[in-house]
Structure formats: C-alpha cells, structure tokens
C-alpha cells in the first residue's frame, strides 16, 4: 500500500489488527489510523522503518517488537530523516520504542510507550535519540523500560510534561548532549530519576523527582556537567535526591527537597555551585561531603532542622547553619557506621560537632538561613 502512495499522500488505516513487521517508509507520507488500529509485529523485528523526510505517524498502536542482543529493534525506527511527527501512538511490549538517528526537527507528542523490562541488557529505551537536534518531546508516558528517554549527542531539544516511571535504569538520560531543556516532567520509581552526564548548558525546571528509592537510587544524578540551571524542582522520598560528581557552575534555586535519605551527596570535583532559596525538609542527611574542601556556596536556604533564632525579625536566622553533620562525614568514610543511625550517641556527637566543627568543612555554612519556607 505504501508502495502505491505518491509523495505527500495521506494514508488512512482502517480499524483492525494487522500482523505486519518491517514496514519501510522511503517517501514523505502521512499515516493516520482510524480507531483501534493495532499492528502486531509478533516479535519478528521492527514495526516501522522511516528513511525519508517529512513523515507523520498518528493514532496507531503497535506491539510485540522483536527482541535482540545484536540488533536494535524498535517500534518506530527513524534514520537520517528531518521534519518527523509522531503523535498519539501507543507502543506496548517494545524493545526500543522510538529509535531516532541523525535526524532534525522531530516532534513526539502524546504517546504511550511501555515494555516489560526485567534486565538492563534485555530491554531497550523508550525514546532513544542519537545525533539529533531540535527535538520536542511532550506529554508522553513511558514506563517499564531501560531508560525512559535517552539522549546521546542531542542538541537544542526540549522535553516537556512527560511522565516517566518504573524504568529499570533512568527516567531520562543525557549523554554528551548540550543546550537542552527539560521541564514539568514527573519521574517516579525509577532506578534513578534523571541522569545528566558529560553535558553542558542543560536547563531543568519544575520537574518532580519522586520515590526513586532503593539501595543505589538517585533522584538526579549529575556527572561531569557544567553550567546548568536547576530551578523550581521537587525532590521527594528519594534515597539520594541529587548526587553530584564533577558538577561545576550550576545554580540550584527554589528547589524543594523533602523526606529524602540524602538531599545532596557531594563527591569530588564539584566547584562553584550555588545553592540559593531551596527548601530542605525532613531529610535524613541534608548535605554530605567526602572531603574537607568546599568551593560551593549555600546561602539563604530554608533548613527544617535549623534551630537558630531571629532576633531582628528580618526572616533570616542570626546563627549560621551547618548543613553537614559529623555523622554524615563518618558514614562517608565508613559506610557500616550507618547502622548507628538515630542512636542517642550520634545525636550527641552531631551536637558537639555543630558547636565546634573539627571534621566537617569549616566554610560550608549557610550564613543566612531562612526562618520560613520558600514558596
């Protein structure tokens, strides 16, 4: 049918279940499904292979993509194509959902992608972009995959209003991808919510990182990342809300960290980060450092465990707050010591370290802790 179509034709697919696989599209066409169009690939390979510009696929369901350890089978595979639109597509039991290579100007809206991930090697990613630019990924739901959305060498793209949950590895994953933005997404119950690695100029605003909870789980994992903005995000009930490693020149403003194990875990080589107007509420550890050096600044945050006072009633506590507790320093050195969490002795040593800091970085203080929550 596709063979008979002319360039820029629109194909309307009738209702029904189609047992097809490896549908190759080599000319610019629009494929729109009527109600209940299901394509079952019967685990035999790709569903669509798009090798042409200006292709649109809408209102179609596809399921049972082939699984392979040598080939990257995908429900929709797009290669070297520009101006692609994928809308209202439901992809279930996929290996890769959308696999897009060397393409520009892509719009991916309102899709639902899921799989039955059990092992990292045996599953693909929901939306996988490689060497792409100007992609818009909006209002998709992705779950039970390896990575919900994966960016490698992707530029100038926006990820907005997506819900990525219960993925084995990451909800959203950036590798070597600069100048991107993601906002208003929700990431919950993933191995780690979002991992940003080896990337520059990433904007992260108004996202929710919830319940990424497990022995090695993170809300947001930052590794070798420079010049980013992390604004107005919510981190709640993660084992580690933000893990920083080699993160430099990042502004953290107006974020809320509540009920996490660690709100911030700072490993080596993190310089010139600025933490301002954040809320730290009921975290087991607010900040943990593994060294005595500190080149990051904390100023004007609200800390729920702050016990100081405000005599002049200007809303700023008169006593500086030290977010690194002695116990978190000890736990970093000797992980087994965590067994003494919430012991009376630990409270006593934390208090004495607070009064006279010896082990924790001396200049790591919030000079102007707020008395009221930042809204």
């Amino acid at each position: 049918m596709i063979d008979t179509a002319q360039k820029h034709d629109t194909i309307i697919v009738k209702e029904g279940v189609y047992k097809e696989h490896d549908i190759i599209i080599t000319k610019p066409i629009t494929i729109i499904g009527k109600k209940n169009v299901v394509i079952d690939a019967e685990a035999k390979g790709y569903v669509f292979k798009v090798l042409a510009d200006s292709v649109t696929i809408k209102n179609i369901s596809a399921k049972n993509v082939g699984k392979s350890y040598t080939k990257d089978f995908a429900a929709i595979y797009i290669s070297r194509s520009n101006h692609i639109v994928i809308e209202n597509v439901t992809l279930t039991n996929v290996f890769f959902g959308l696999l897009i290579e060397k393409s520009k100007n892509i719009r991916i809206r309102n899709n639902y992608i899921s799989s039955k991930a059990t092992t990292e090697a045996g599953t693909g990613n929901g939306i996988h972009l490689w060497h792409c630019s100007n992609a818009e990924i909006e209002e998709n739901e992705l779950h039970s995959l390896r990575d919900g959305i994966y960016f490698e060498f992707v530029k100038n793209s926006v990820v907005k209003n997506n819900h990525s949950h219960h993925n084995l590895r990451y909800g959203l994953h950036f590798m070597f991808s600069n100048n991107n933005e993601y906002l208003q997404n929700t990431f919950n119950n993933n191995g780690a919510g979002v991992a940003v690695m080896f990337s520059k100029y990433i904007k992260m605003t108004r996202n929710k990182f919830l319940k990424n909870w497990g022995t090695a789980s993170y809300g947001l994992l930052l590794k070798e990342i420079y010049d980013a903005e992390i604004i107005h995000n919510e981190f709640s009930e993660n084992t580690i809300a933000i893990n920083l490693e080699g993160a430099t020149r990042i502004n953290y403003v107006n974020n809320t960290f509540s009920n996490n194990g660690w709100a911030l875990k700072v490993a080596g080589a993190c310089y010139k980060n600025i933490f301002k107007s954040n809320n730290f509420l009921n975290n087991s550890f607010d900040v943990s450092y593994n060294s005595k050096l500190n080149d990051n600044s904390f100023k004007g945050n609200y800390w729920s465990s702050y016990t100081g006072y405000d005599l002049d009633k200007n809303g700023i506590g008169d006593v500086p707050y030290r977010p690194v507790k002695l116990f978190s320093y000890i736990v970093n050195k000797t992980p087994e010591a965590i067994i003494l969490l919430r012991s009376l002795f630990v409270d006593i040593i934390n208090f004495s370290e607070k009064v006279t800091p010896v082990f924790t970085p001396k200049n790591l203080v919030d000079e102007a802790p707020l008395m009221q929550k930042v809204l």
């Binding site: 022995t215 789980s217 194990g261 087991s284 087994e336 965590i338 067994i339 969490l341 919430r342 009376l344």
Partner: protein, 259 residues
Amino acid sequence: MIKIITYCFFDLVRSRWSYVYFSFYLLLSFALLFLNNDTSKAVISLMNIITVLTPLIGTIFGVMYYYNSREFIELLLSQPIKRSHIFIGQYLGVAISLSLSLILGLGIPFLLYGVLQGSTSNFLILLTVGSFLTFIFVALAYNIALTHENKIKGFGYAILVWLLMAVIYDGVFLISLVMFQEYPLDNASLIATAFNPIDLSRILILLKLDISALLGYTGAVFKSFFGTSLGLITSLFVLVLWVVIPIFFIYRKAQRKDF
C-alpha cells in the same frame, strides 16, 4: 508467687508514678499521631523516645522500687514462702505494670488513629520492643539493687548501666568501626548489635520501616538477616535471652543473699 505478683502489680498500678508514666506516653503518642500526618514519621519519633526512655525508666524504677519495698521484703522473708517466689514475683510485678503503662499509653492513641491507617505491624514491633526493653532493664536493675545494700551506690550503678547501653556502647562501636574500616565489618557489626538490647531494638524497628534502603550495602546485609523470619526469630530469641539470663541471676542472688 501469683499472689506476690498481683500484690506488687496492684500496688504499682495504684501509685501515682504509673499514672504519670502512662499519661506521658498517652500525651506523647496523641501529639505525635495527630499533629503529624505521617504515621511512619510518628513511629520513628516514638522509636527514638522508646529506645532511650524505657530503659532509663525501667532501671531507675526497678532500683527505686526494690529499695522502697525492702522492709516489706524482710517481712515476707519471715513467712514460709520460697525466696525465689518473693523476688521473681516482685520483679515481674514491676516489669508487667511498667509495660502495661507503655502498651496502654501507646496503644490507645494508635487504636483510635494508627491501626486504621494500616501500619499495624510497625506499631506491634514498637510495642514488643518497648516491653522487652522494660523487662530487660528492670531485671538488670534488680540485679544491681540485690548486690548493693547502699542506695546511692545502687542508683549510681543503675544509671551507669543505662548510660553504657544507650550511649557509651555506641561510641565504642563507632570508634571500632572507624578504626577497622579496612576490614569487612558487616558480620562483625551484626554480632555487635546482639550484645546491646537497645541497638538490637533500634535496628529491628529501623528495618521494619522502609528506611533500610538508606543503609546501602550494610543495610542489605542487615536486611537479608533481619528481614527474613529466621532473622526476626533469632533477634527475638536474643531479646528473650537478655530477659532470661538476668532473671536467672536474680534467682541465684536471691537464694544466697544474707539479710
């Protein structure tokens, strides 16, 4: 013996201190549960208080009660009653009445609020652990009181035992963990917790609450032990041992003591 237990129990239940103790827990758990919407947070706060306070109250109350009822004990000794019955009976009377204050004080607010929210098992473990701690520390206190005629000395040792278990033990534990950090310490720390009932109870509750993910690798080792029913049974068995062994010592001391 039952008569002595009941006498001792009703004597204590009528006393003002039991009411103070009971109403303290009642107010505390009411406040924590109703001012704080998160039950597991409330359980954690209660745990912090129980693991510190029940041993303290248990030791002090135990020592105090023994010294106060000395004349009564001497009167009983002149009667044809077995010695072990007198002392064990008194001990059980004190321990049961203290645990009852704890169970009712925590239980009533939880019945009104917590059970409906479905955190019953957390709450049950909290009560079990609290009662065990009471029994253990009252037994330790009786041992101390039986060996020391001098009240001041007795009180001093009782406080010292509490301090040792609640604070100093953890300090030594932590220092040794830091000093031997090159070695694999998971099993060592697992064994070390068994030698301190307060640590054991704290970890039992912590692992019951979903906090174990925080504990990382060590937590995984602990979870794999305590999380299984075998681990739970073993740790409860260790707590039982912590009750039985001091009682045995009370029994022996009571047989030999010269009044």
